[in-house]
């Protein structure tokens, strides 16, 4: 029985992540465009509808699938093919241990809202994270191209050294949390006791090393376009390149998910008191829904107001409407529901399900916020030089992390 539940959960979560990836890609292209004061992708259209570039993703996906899959002759074939798989596997595997909400108690069944609740928790993430290097290394080396080899060397060196920094930062965190199970860590962060505030240094270090792990902007020397063409995946064409690309974004998503869980209190919001909600779902709903409805309606109207008929003289003008109108409708639906619910008592499972849903929503919101942060950072900061990168890693972050550990342990000793 648990197996089935586990299987369902696994499928759901992976699907969720895979869905996230195109959104992230779109958001990145759109965001970077606006940062660089240009309009993002807006050409791909289905039946004239552009949806502000979302369609572009579909175009990319189709392109990547259809491109001819070239394997360089001298490359060691098997490893060349396996490398991207490893990359994507690593990215998706870490999700398995990430909890989205508190364990759900439905009729005697406690369903942990995560694929596998390992008591080693974060260590699992660390372990799998360290495997990420393989994907990069094997890929780059097997493509038998000097640029890619250089890229791989740099990438793997970078990832290995920042892994240490990440590990040490986490140790700083463990000192405070006292446990490695993620669910417990999150449940400890009620209200404003987010670890980001109690352990600011650990948070900052973890975040930067996360950037390094995913070869994201300030540290994206691996595929620094200016010098190394495309770094370790220059030789990769269609599908395999896609896998690498997806792996990267999956990694970002998972990374930000973990950051939000460990440091930003996961599903805790200062205001919300889940226990209360779980007990009195009706009251919660009756209060929450109207607020949401009002928000949705306001947003929808704002979009519709932007409608100009002759701006582009084609389907694009109506896009704004496509977005704005559904919001207004949802708003009204919510108001109706609250009115309908008023006065009736909901079945017992509704409370916990509602709480779970709410918690998932909060986690997702925070993750999206961090993904945005990732993308925003990518297009603002310049790229590190390699020695600066290494210096920062070894001489900067590791000493600071050690310092942090020492300080926290000293503090802990004095406090108790």
């Amino acid at each position: 029985m648990e197996l089935i539940i586990a299987a369902i959960k696994a499928i759901v979560i992976v699907a969720l992540i895979l869905q996230l990836i195109p959104v992230l890609i779109w958001f990145e292209r759109k965001g970077s465009a606006y940062i660089q004061d240009r309009r993002g992708p807006n050409r791909a259209q289905i039946l004239g509808i552009r949806l502000g570039g979302m369609i572009h993703n579909l175009a990319d996906v189709v392109k990547l699938f259809c491109k001819q899959d070239i394997i360089p002759t001298k490359a060691s074939r098997i490893i060349y093919v396996v490398a991207p798989m490893i990359a994507i596997f690593v990215a998706s595997a870490t999700v398995g241990v990430v909890p989205f909400a508190e364990p759900l108690h439905l009729g005697g069944l406690t369903i942990p809202m995560q694929v596998a609740d390992l008591n080693i928790g974060i260590l699992y993430i660390l372990g799998i994270g360290s495997l990420g290097v393989y994907g990069v290394m094997l890929g780059g080396w097997s493509s038998n191209n000097s640029y890619s080899l250089l890229g791989t060397l740099r990438a793997s060196a970078q990832m290995v050294s920042y892994e240490i920094a990440m590990g040490l930062a986490l140790i700083g965190l463990f000192l405070v949390t006292g446990t490695v199970r993620i669910t417990e860590i999150v449940s400890q962060q009620t209200g404003f006791h987010w670890y980001a505030f109690t352990q600011p240094i650990a948070f900052v270090l973890f975040l930067t090393s996360l950037f390094a792990e995913t070869n994201r902007n300030p540290f994206d020397l691996a595929e620094g376009e200016s010098e190394l063409v495309a770094g370790f995946h220059t030789e990769y064409s269609s599908m395999k390149f896609a896998l690498f690309f997806m792996a990267e974004y999956a990694h970002i998503a998972v990374g930000s998910l973990i950051v939000s869980l460990l440091f930003f209190g996961g599903w805790n919001l200062p205001g919300l008191d889940f226990d209360w909600i779980r007990v009195y779902p009706e009251a919660a709903l009756s209060m929450g829904l109207p607020a949401l409805a009002v928000g949705a309606i306001a947003f929808g109207l704002f979009l519709c107001s932007k409608f100009r008929r002759h701006k582009y003289n084609d389907a694009r003008d109506y896009e704004v409407l496509i977005f704005g109108v559904p919001h207004v409708l949802i708003g009204f639906l919510m108001i109706g529901a609250t009115l309908l619910l008023h006065g009736t008592t909901l079945p017992t499972w509704v409370g916990p399900v509602l709480v779970a849903a709410l918690q998932m929503g909060v986690v997702l919101a925070k993750t999206l916020f961090f993904c945005a942060f990732f993308i925003w950072v990518r297009w603002t900061l310049p790229r590190f030089r390699y020695d600066q990168l290494m210096d920062l890693g070894w001489k900067g972050m590791i000493p600071v992390a050690l310092f942090n550990i020492v300080i926290t342990s000293a503090w802990l000793v004095f406090v108790h």
Binding site: L118, I120, L123, L126, G127, V133, M137, W141, L153, S156
Partner: protein, 168 residues
Amino acid sequence: MIEAYLFYFFAVTTVLLAVTVVVQPNPIGAAVSLVGTFFSLAALFVLLHAHFVAIMQIILYAGAIMVLFIFVIMLLNLEPEKVKLRTIAGNRLVQGSAALYLAGVIALAFFGWRQFFTQGVVANEMEGTIEAVGKLLLTDYLVPFEMTSVLLLVAIIGAVILARKPVE
């Protein structure tokens, strides 16, 4: 039941991968299969409820040591070696027999000591959790723990000096 199957599965994969490591002419191939071996071993550890050890295995072996190996293989871009199983003084028979003899001896040793493990079958609930191992590590085995730190320091210095480019 499931555990038995899992055990056999992982045991077979470990042994097979180990054999490929030794037989594989191409070092990279060997390295990757070794990583595979470590993974299946980690799985075996999990089966033995030694979670902390399993994850440490992954982090340390797969994550760190193998990375070094592959790093070195890449750095030295070694061409695959023609595996001539001809060994020292040609007589594969000798070391073959030595190996078999050793196996027999080790097996005999363990079976011989059977009485020590009469309750071998009974699996107890001692979970190899990180807390239990951690507590034990820092109480009974504190001194060796500190010693290992010294050992690591030495190893680091040694590796650095050895691998450093000779100063002209």
